[in-house]
């Protein structure tokens, strides 16, 4: 009798512990911080201390479809999704835009969310071209910025976002770029990297955006 009682108690506790830890990963664990961390030296009270700071998106200045400057200030108190594309892209870009449209439809009335699409072909994708493109997709800034700027600046910032973007005359359209969507939090940290051509990955991104909005 005693052993049966003990087993029963053990099972009940076990079940309780199991059930409370048995939740959807995406609703509980905090999102990771991606990118290489930097270690900086500090002198405090004559002693050298080391601090680890996470990778953050550095300063940038681009122009959007409404001829407005877009800088980190444009995303103050916002989370945003960044990607790299070009309007004449014959391969992955339409799928990426279709997926971003899904995100736009869900979040465009939320002032704490924005989308930032960088053109990697600034020579062709002028402000006027981007304006027309955005209009034809039926979207508006600041919920969705389409930006252009100096090619070197855009390619440099792509590296900071851990996205690939390069000219390559052998590639269809003349550019190689990854279909990544990068999720950026309110502190300019990369919290997720998703394949923007995969609807299932974008489902995960949408879940993660909701988690991030709940953070702090």
């Amino acid at each position: 009798m005693n052993s049966i009682f003990n087993t029963a108690i053990f099972l009940v506790f076990g079940l309780l512990i199991f059930c409370t830890s048995c939740t959807n990963n995406r609703t509980h664990s905090p999102l990771p911080v991606l990118g290489e961390t930097e270690i900086i030296e500090k002198l405090i009270d004559g002693k050298t201390k080391y601090d680890t700071i996470p990778h953050t998106i550095p300063d940038f200045a681009f122009v959007n479809q409404d001829s407005q400057w877009v800088t980190p200030e444009s995303f103050e108190n916002k989370i945003y999704v960044a990607d790299f594309f070009f309007t004449s892209c014959p391969t992955i870009c339409p799928k990426m835009k279709a997926q971003l449209l899904r995100i736009y439809e869900i979040f465009h009335t939320n002032p704490e969310v924005s989308l930032l699409s960088h053109s990697i072909d600034p020579r062709h994708d002028t402000v006027a071209v981007l304006k027309k493109y955005a209009e034809r997709l039926g979207v508006k800034a600041p919920a969705w910025h389409f930006v252009t700027g100096h090619k070197t600046d855009i390619y440099a910032i792509a590296r900071e976002y851990m996205a690939t973007a390069e000219e390559d005359e052998r590639a269809p359209g003349g550019f190689i770029h990854s279909g990544s969507f990068l999720l950026i939090d309110k502190h300019k940290r990369i919290r997720g990297n998703y394949d923007g051509t995969d609807a299932k990955k974008v489902d995960e991104l949408i879940q993660d955006m909701k988690i991030l909005l709940d953070e702090e």
Binding site: K97, L101, L137
Partner: protein
Amino acid sequence: MKSNPLKMNPSWFLVPLIVLLVFVIFRMIGQGNRSPGKALYSEYCANCHMENGQGLGRVIPPLAGADYLKSNQKNLPCIILNGLRGEIEVNGETYDEPMAGIADLTAGQITNIINYISTSWGNDLPRLNLAEVKAAIEACNP
């Protein structure tokens, strides 16, 4: 009752086995007939017009239920081969993003793609045959 399986009349299971094989082979052939157009569409067209033929906003026109297909069937071979520039109207919307042609498709492949598009997503357009597509390609303006 015990029966020795090795002494059973083989035609007991051979006949249904052959029937099954024939059935499977015919099904595979049937699928093979259908899949070239779909496979070609996925490879060459779906990037822009999407797997479900919906297109993208007012940037890329739909193919599903597109009135343009009906009134331009004869032009489709040239459009697929050489692309399309200039403004067109599809289901009441205007589109003017240039479409890239795919110059290395054969007439047979183009026929398969057109017939796939014409009979998918609710589209019910007459199919083209190889001779018609070849003739259209001969007459294309480059």
